[in-house]
Symmetry: C2
Subunit: 417 residues, 2 copies
C-alpha cells in the first residue's frame, strides 16, 4: 500500500492525528491510554478498540467511547459482546491489521504484547499511519523492519521543510515508555547529528545493593516489590535483573539510530530523571517526571504539542536529592548480554526478548533461580543468534520466537537446586 | 531601517548567521567568545571587534582574526592602535551602533556592560541582525524595548513556517548566560503555550548556610570565593546575595514572556543543572553542564545547530548526587526585591540593576555591609520605581541609571558601623 503524501495527510486532517485505533485496550497501558483519550475529547476520536480476551472491560470501554469498531481475540466471545448501536465487531487472525489500516484511523496505539504485534505495526506504517507503541518486540525484534518505514515517512516531510515536527521518524513511530519518551522529548528541535550519547536511567530495582548470595536466593515475592514504579510482574522482574534496561538499549539503538557505544546506562534510584541526551557541545538535556505512565502515553498522542495531564510534575525541592551511580554488570549481567545481543543483530535480539519471557515466567513459577535468568538469556542468544547475521522478516521472527520458547520452557535449564 | 525579509536573509546567506561583530571582545565573556569563534573558522567570520580601553588585547585579537574593522572606546589610543592591513578603525560615541548595523554583519555578540549597550542592541535588531547578548541591562532594563523587535523578526518567519527555528524570538535575541541558555535549550521544538513554569537554579553562593550574624560580618574576600563558577567580582557578589538570580528572573520574564508567578528559583549547590522548564503535562526538561561559559556562548552562535566544543560534558556518575532546596528569601531578600521590581515595571527594574552596581561597588570598597546590599536595592526600587509605571526609552533609562548611581554612591546609606 503506498503511503499518502505529506500534503495529502494534511489535507485529510490527519495531522495532528486525531482518530485513534487502540490495540490492547484492556491491559495496563491500554487502560491508561483510555484515561488519556477520555481526558481530551476535544483532541481525539476513538475509532477502534481491540483486546485479546477481556470482553467485559472491552464492552464497558465501547459503551463509553462509542468506537466505530471493536476486535476481540477470543472469537468464542465475540458474538455475545454487548456493544452500543453503531459499533461493529471484527474477529479473525488479521483483525488488528484491519483496524490499524482503516481509512478513518490516523494514529494506532499498540499496547498488545508479543512479536505478533509487528504485523499491525508494519501494516499501519505502510498505510502512512502514525504508530505509538508500548510493545517492546516492535523495536527489539523488529527494529530493522519498522524503522526504514518510519524514516521514509519522515523523509517525505523533510523534503518540504526539514524543521517540520513530522520530518523526524519519531513522529511516525512514537515510543510509549518513560525512558524513550524522555529521550524523544530531549531531542525535539535538535538534530541527530548533534547527539553524542543517549543516557538511559535505571532505578536499579529492589536488589541494587544485594550481594551475589542474596541475589541467588531472591524469591518472586521479593522481586515483585519495585521501589519506584508500580508495574506488571514481567516488567518488575525485568527491572530487578536489568534485562529491561538491556532491552531498552536495543530499542534506543533502533529508534534513534545510535551505535551501542553511544548508549549509556546510569543507575538513578529515585527514577525522577527518566533519561537524558548528551550533545556534541557538552550540553546534556534530561527529562524528569513522576512515575506516571499517563505522561509518556499522552505525549505520544499529542506530539508535537503538550496538553494538561493528571500526571503530577516532579518536585525537585521535595525530592531534595537525586543520586547516580554506574551499573554493576557483574552482579547484573543481563545488561551486558543484551548489549551483545544487540550488536549481534536482529536474530540475537529477537532470541533475547523471547528467552526473557520464558525466563521470567519460569522464575515466577519457581522453576528458575533469579540469578539463572541472565544465564538463560545468554544461552538463548548463543544458540539462536550467535552466528546468524540475517535480518528475519515477521514470519521468521514469529518462528524464532516459538523455537526459543519451546527450547527453554522444556529444558531443565537452570532449575533451582 | 526596515528589516530584511526571511527570504532575503536566506538568499543573502545570513541564515545561519556567519559574519560576526563582537562588542566587548576583551572582557571575560568577550575573550571566551573569541575562543569559540577561533575554534570554528569554518563556521564564522569575524567582521568587527570592539572594546572600551584594552587596546593591547584588541590589537592581538585583530592580528589573529583580521576583522574588517575595530572600534576602541578610548579615543586617545585609537590612532596608535597597531592593526593588520585591511582592518579599519572607528571611534566616536556611536561606534558600536555603526559596527552592529554593517551590511556585512549577520550576528552581533554583545559582551559590553551597562545600559548604554541597549543602543547597539536595538540598532542591530532594527537592521534585522541576530543579537547574542551577555549584557544584563538588555533585558532587565530594556526588555520592553528589545523583545517587541525580536518578536516581529520571528513573526515574519512564522508566517512562512511555524516550526522554523527562526520563528522564535530567541533566535533573534539570544541569551548568553548559563541559566537562560539552559531554558532556551529546553524550549527548542516546544511551543510556549506548553510551558507551565521556568525553573531557574542558583548555586546559593558561599553563604548558603550562614546565619544572619555571619552574613552581616561577611567580607569582600569571603564573598569573592564562589563555590562552583569562576567569574568576575561583580557577578560573584551578586551570586552571594542572590541579586544575580533576581535579575535573571526579570530577564526570564522578558525573554520568554512568562509571568513572575511562573518563574521559580531552586537552590542547587552543585550548579550542574543549569535550569529547567516545566510543561503543562507534568514533564520537566533540564539542561545540565559543567560550569564553562564557552558552552552557552557557542550555543548562542551556532543555534539551532550544535558543534563540538572544549566544554567537558557533565558526568552524573562522577557527580554522584545533585541536591535541591528552596531559597531562603528571609536571609537573602534580594530575590524577593527583584521579583517585586520586575512586577512594578521597567523603571523599577532599571533602578534595581543600577542600584546593584552601586551596592556591589560599595561593598567591595568597604563602605557598605553585605547585608545592606538588599536594603539599598529596596530603597532604590522604592525611590525610583515605586509608583511610576511608564516604560522609559533608552534616553530615559540612561538618565535614570545616572540618577540612581549618583543618589546611592553619595549617600551615607548603609555604611558599616
Amino acid at each position: 500500500m503506498p503511503s499518502p503524501s505529506f500534503a495529502e495527510a494534511d489535507a485529510a486532517g490527519a495531522r495532528p492525528p486525531r482518530r485513534v485505533a487502540l490495540l490492547g485496550s484492556t491491559g495496563s497501558i491500554g487502560r491508561q491510554a483510555v484515561d488519556v483519550l477520555e481526558a481530551h475529547p476535544e483532541a481525539f476520536t476513538v475509532v477502534a478498540l481491540a483486546t485479546g480476551s477481556n470482553a467485559g472491560l472491552l464492552a464497558q470501554q465501547a459503551a463509553r467511547l462509542r468506537p466505530a469498531v471493536v476486535a476481540l481475540g477470543d472469537a468464542s466471545r465475540l458474538r455475545a459482546l454487548d456493544l452500543p448501536t453503531g459499533t461493529a465487531r471484527v474477529g479473525g487472525a488479521d483483525a488488528l491489521e484491519v483496524l490499524a489500516t482503516r481509512d478513518d484511523v490516523d494514529l494506532v496505539v499498540v499496547a498488545t504484547g508479543g512479536v505478533v504485534s509487528l504485523r499491525p505495526v508494519l501494516a499501519a506504517l505502510r498505510a502512512g499511519k502514525v504508530v505509538a507503541t508500548a510493545n517492546k518486540e516492535t523495536l527489539v525484534a523488529g527494529g530493522h523492519l519498522v524503522m526504514p518505514l518510519a524514516r521514509t515517512l519522515a523523509a517525505d516531510v523533510a523534503t518540504e521543510h526539514a524543521a517540520d515536527p513530522y520530518a523526524s521518524p519519531l513522529a511516525w513511530l512514537r515510543p510509549i515508555d518513560s525512558e524513550h519518551s524522555a529521550i524523544w522529548q530531549c531531542l525535539v528541535g535538535e538534530s541527530m547529528r548533534s547527539v553524542a550519547a543517549l543516557v538511559l536511567t535505571a532505578s536499579g530495582g529492589p536488589f541494587l545493593d544485594a550481594s551475589p548470595a542474596e541475589l541467588a536466593a531472591v524469591t518472586p515475592e521479593q522481586a515483585l516489590r519495585h521501589p519506584t514504579w508500580r508495574m506488571g510482574a514481567k516488567i518488575t522482574i525485568d527491572s530487578a535483573t536489568l534485562a529491561n534496561k538491556g532491552l531498552e538499549v536495543i530499542e534506543a539503538h533502533w529508534l534513534y539510530d545510535v551505535g551501542y557505544d553511544a548508549i549509556e546506562v546510569v543507575i538513578h534510584p529515585q527514577s525522577v530523571v527518566h533519561s537524558a541526551v548528551r550533545f556534541v557541545d557538552g550540553s546534556l538535556k534530561a527529562q524528569l517526571g513522576t512515575p506516571d505512565m499517563r505522561l509518556p502515553i499522552q505525549y505520544a498522542l499529542t506530539y508535537p504539542d503538550r496538553r494538561p495531564s493528571p500526571a503530577a510534575p516532579p518536585d525537585l525541592i521535595a525530592a531534595g536529592r537525586l543520586d547516580f551511580r554506574a551499573p554493576d554488570e557483574v552482579r547484573f549481567p543481563a545488561l551486558r548480554i543484551a548489549r551483545e545481543a544487540g550488536r549481534l543483530g536482529p536474530r540475537a535480539s529477537a532470541a533475547l526478548i523471547a528467552a526473557d519471557e520464558v525466563a521470567v515466567g519460569r522464575f515466577l513459577d519457581g522453576t528458575l533461580a533469579f540469578t539463572a535468568i541472565p544465564a538463560l538469556l545468554e544461552a538463548a542468544v548463543e544458540r539462536f543468534g550467535g552466528t546468524a547475521t540475517d535480518a528475519p522478516d515477521v514470519e521468521g521472527l514469529v518462528a524464532l520466537d516459538v523455537d526459543v520458547r519451546a527450547t527453554f520452557a522444556t529444558t531443565r535449564f537452570g532449575a533451582p537446586a
